[in-house]
């Protein structure tokens, strides 16, 4: 094994890129769960975002429009989930799983004509002076705009939940929908908006995969990233900062195992490829065993203003 072949600058830079799609999806799902809704359809919304973003970017030649379209597609898809669970009171787990299946099927239908095409991608930012700083410049400061957008979004979500009244109401709805209703808050409206935000974020995450990280369309290209995002929300104990840590940890392990493979580590390739998932499970087990998780009390419970 030749560890010297791993370039630390490139390693960190590629960790940031590989963490971004999961980070986007996870921060959106965290907001949804903070409102007391468990949407297991993240994978489906992500891959729908990936294919719609890709198609729009290819047809318009503008990756920016692709991202906007991906966010809209994710939000629209999540709206079906919102309608089923919030108005028709269907079971959230089953509906979420259904959403994933719908998303996977829909995306391969839409994506068929786009296989094997290369999409226009987002340019790397080239900020004068900053990007030219040795080491830090290429490592942290010369990525595309979405990397920074995702980090800014984490900070914005954190501040929203901690400091704003709307954030307080959202948390209250997730803690006890009945109490929030008794105080006169519109539980269903709050939840629908949270679900749509989560859908838009998942769509963005998917588009980042197909427009920047890979950048092309292949069927099933999210490869479980949506599920990882769900796990990261639990891993993060529903805190925005820790979602970022979790996403970067997972992204780091993914990239590291690729580098280790390239460096010829004496470990079976299959085990290395599986390592990000294995480590996620391990961390989740440790967190659950510790018992302190801080899940929103009304998570996954249907609410109906019947009494």
């Amino acid at each position: 094994m030749d560890l010297s072949s791993i370039n630390p600058i490139l390693l960190v830079a590629s960790i940031m890129v590989s963490a971004t799609p999961i980070l986007l999806a996870a921060i959106g799902e965290m907001v949804v769960e903070k409102a007391g809704v468990l949407n297991l359809g993240v994978e489906g919304m992500m891959i729908t975002g990936a294919v719609v973003g890709f198609a729009i970017a290819v047809n318009t030649g503008t990756p920016g429009l692709g991202f906007v379209a991906a966010a809209c597609a994710g939000a629209v898809l999540s709206l079906t989930f919102a309608f089923l669970t919030q108005y028709l009171l269907s079971n959230q787990v089953a509906t979420g799983l259904g959403l994933t299946l719908v998303g996977l099927g829909l995306s391969s239908l839409i994506g068929k004509p786009y296989e094997g095409i290369k999409s226009p991608t987002l340019p790397k930012l080239d900020i004068p002076i900053l990007s030219d700083i040795p080491v830090i410049g290429p490592m942290l400061l010369s990525h595309d705009i979405m990397v920074y957008f995702s980090l800014a979004l984490v900070a914005a979500v954190w501040a929203f939940l901690k400091y704003t009244r709307a954030g307080l109401i959202l948390r209250a709805v997730g803690e006890s929908a009945d109490s929030a209703h008794a105080l006169g808050y519109k539980v269903v409206n709050v939840r629908v908006m949270a679900i749509m935000f989560g859908g838009a974020c998942a769509g963005l995450g998917g588009a980042y995969l197909s427009l920047v990280r890979v950048p092309q369309w292949t069927e099933g290209m999210t490869a479980g990233a949506g599920w990882i995002a769900l796990a990261i929300v639990v891993f993060a104990s529903w805190r925005a900062g820790r979602v970022a840590v979790g996403a970067y940890l997972f992204g780091g392990i993914t990239v590291l195992q690729l580098n280790l493979q390239a460096a010829g580590a004496q470990v079976p390739v299959a085990l290395l490829s599986a390592s990000p998932y294995l480590i996620t499970i391990l961390v989740l087990v440790i967190i659950s065993a510790k018992g302190a998780h801080g899940a929103p009390a009304a998570l996954g419970r249907a609410f109906h203003a019947s009494n």
Binding site: L168, R171, A172, D178, A182, G184, A297
Partner: protein, 502 residues
């Protein structure tokens, strides 16, 4: 009383199949504490929900301060000066006191100012409270303070209180009454809903009594006896449980130095609980909610195993055996939470009857369910305990709280237990049904069963128990004869200071 603060007239609200309020009207004067009395299902909750804007009346009108008042949502009611303290607190456990208060306000000030206001108000009205504490760590009494302070910060003209004292110790009740009297002196009005007639007599200026959704009378509580008011509520006189002079037999259940750690952050550990329960005895265990009642029931029923040697039934150690084995031996239990603990909400009454009665009633011989027998057993419970339901096939969830309670209690009582552990036997049950449940427990004891009743309702415990003990922070006081107790001693026992009382 010149112009009343709030006048209601002709308020009517019908739900499919039931008229919750039928032509209800009364007046509340400025600076008056007005009691609203009635059994469960008499329409009290619907009425206050209409005043608070949660439910829209079908007919009728309300006049507040001389102008028409028709709130369509709680925030409108709050703006008009109506505030409400709920029976089941509308609090968020994971949020802190200040955040909870902010959620109940229309235009909350910045958090730092709010924290100061909370401290000021809590000092002014003698309700100590720290704005930074997480609500999940507060006692029930403290949680109620959060609700009250949340209301007071909005400077209400009318404060609605839904059964505020059902969860408080006698001492806490005294503090609350001082606060309420102070509010009355400031010219605020209070609409006070309660089952506790003595309290209403001590506190309220006027009372309106509802029965079956109709206004059936008003009275001045101070000049009316509790029994008269109760009869107005029920509409007919009901029997109080017969006095008891039971002969007690050998010790049936012996608990010695039972200690169990808390189940989670919000739970209470049991600390060296010692008690003995004789055949034919009713032992009442009082205490403020959350002081180990649930934990004690779980340990005795076998849902949580106890350290070896701590629980003995008829001299045999049962600490390490589970619920089913204890049931077979004749120790039955009925927990407090009806939906989800005592009964499976989405299963029918037949299935629910089967779930605890299978062994003792032999409803599933050779592990094959005998549905006919199970239905007979369920119907037996329904008939003997006057459970109002269209039939035994109905899901437990569909029953009202009081009716399900009757079913849950009846199901255990009819299995002829040797020992019955029961938590909150009459919680949320109306006066007549409560009397029937208590009588059933007394009859059971008269036949030689040992009964341990855990309850928040002191009057109930004093009425049916031979001996009384209180739980405080997971410790159980020594049991004392009920006939030797007065209210003050009980308060001290509940506060964990029994030594000072003796």
């Amino acid at each position: 009383m010149e112009q009343p603060l709030l006048s209601l007239s002709g308020l009517t609200k019908a739900y499919p199949g039931v008229v919750a309020n039928d032509d209800v009207g009364f007046h509340i004067g400025t600076g008056e504490i007005h009691a609203l009395l009635g059994e469960n299902g008499a329409g009290k909750s619907t009425l206050v929900k209409m005043i608070y804007g949660l439910v829209k009346p079908d007919r009728g009108e309300m006049v507040l301060n001389g102008s028409p008042f028709a709130p369509t949502k709680p925030s409108m009611a709050r703006k008009s000066g109506v505030a409400m303290v709920f029976q089941h607190f509308s609090l968020f456990e994971a949020l802190n006191v200040a955040e909870n208060v902010a959620l109940g306000m229309e235009t909350p000030p910045p958090m730092r100012d709010l924290a100061k206001q909370i401290r000021d108000v809590s000092e002014k009205y003698g309700l100590p409270l720290d704005p930074d504490r997480t609500v999940g760590t507060l006692s029930v009494g403290e949680r109620q303070r959060v609700e009250i302070i949340r209301c007071l910060l909005q400077n209400p003209k009318l404060l609605i209180m839904d059964e505020p004292t059902s969860v408080l110790t006698p001492q806490e009740v005294e503090v609350l009454f001082k606060t309420l009297n102070q509010l009355r002196a400031e010219g605020r009005s209070i609409l006070y809903i309660s089952h506790k007639l003595e309290e209403i007599r001590a506190l309220c200026d006027n009372a309106t009594i509802l029965r079956g959704g109709k206004n059936v009378g008003t009275c001045i509580p101070a000049e009316t006896t509790a029994r008269e008011m109760a009869e107005m509520m029920v509409g007919s006189s009901f029997a109080t449980p017969a006095a008891h002079n039971r002969a007690m037999g050998d010790v049936a259940l012996q608990v010695s130095n039972l200690s169990l750690p808390a189940m989670d952050d919000f739970g209470t550990p049991l600390r060296e609980v010692t008690l003995s329960l004789r055949k034919g005895e009713v032992l009442g265990i009082g205490g403020v909610a959350g002081n180990g009642q649930d934990e004690l029931l779980l340990a005795l029923s076998g849902e949580r195993l106890a350290p070896a040697g701590s629980i003995a039934m008829n001299g045999q150690d049962i600490s390490r055996i589970g619920t089913l084995a204890r049931r077979k031996m004749g120790l039955l239990a009925a927990p407090e939470e009806r939906l989800g603990h005592a009964a499976a909400p989405d299963m029918s009454l037949i299935e629910n009857a089967l779930l605890t009665g299978a062994d003792r009633q032999n409803l599933s011989p050779k592990k094959i369910v005998n549905w006919r027998k199970a239905r007979h057993f369920a119907e037996d419970v329904i008939r003997k305990f006057d459970v109002r339901t269209p039939g035994a096939h109905v899901a437990a969830r569909a029953l009202s709280g009081g009716n399900l309670q009757k079913f849950v209690v009846g199901r255990e009582v009819l299995q002829n237990p040797d020992i019955l552990i029961i938590n909150q036997p009459t919680w949320g049950v109306d006066a007549a049904a409560a009397a029937a449940i208590r009588q059933a427990l007394l009859d059971l004891a008269a036949n030689g069963a040992a009964i341990l009743v855990i309850s928040q309702d002191l009057d109930e415990l004093l009425e049916i128990s031979d001996n009384f003990a209180a739980l405080n922070e997971g410790r159980l006081s020594a049991a004392r004869k009920v006939s030797d107790l007065d209210m003050e001693q009980i308060g001290l026992m509940m506060g964990g200071m029994e030594g000072a009382a003796a």
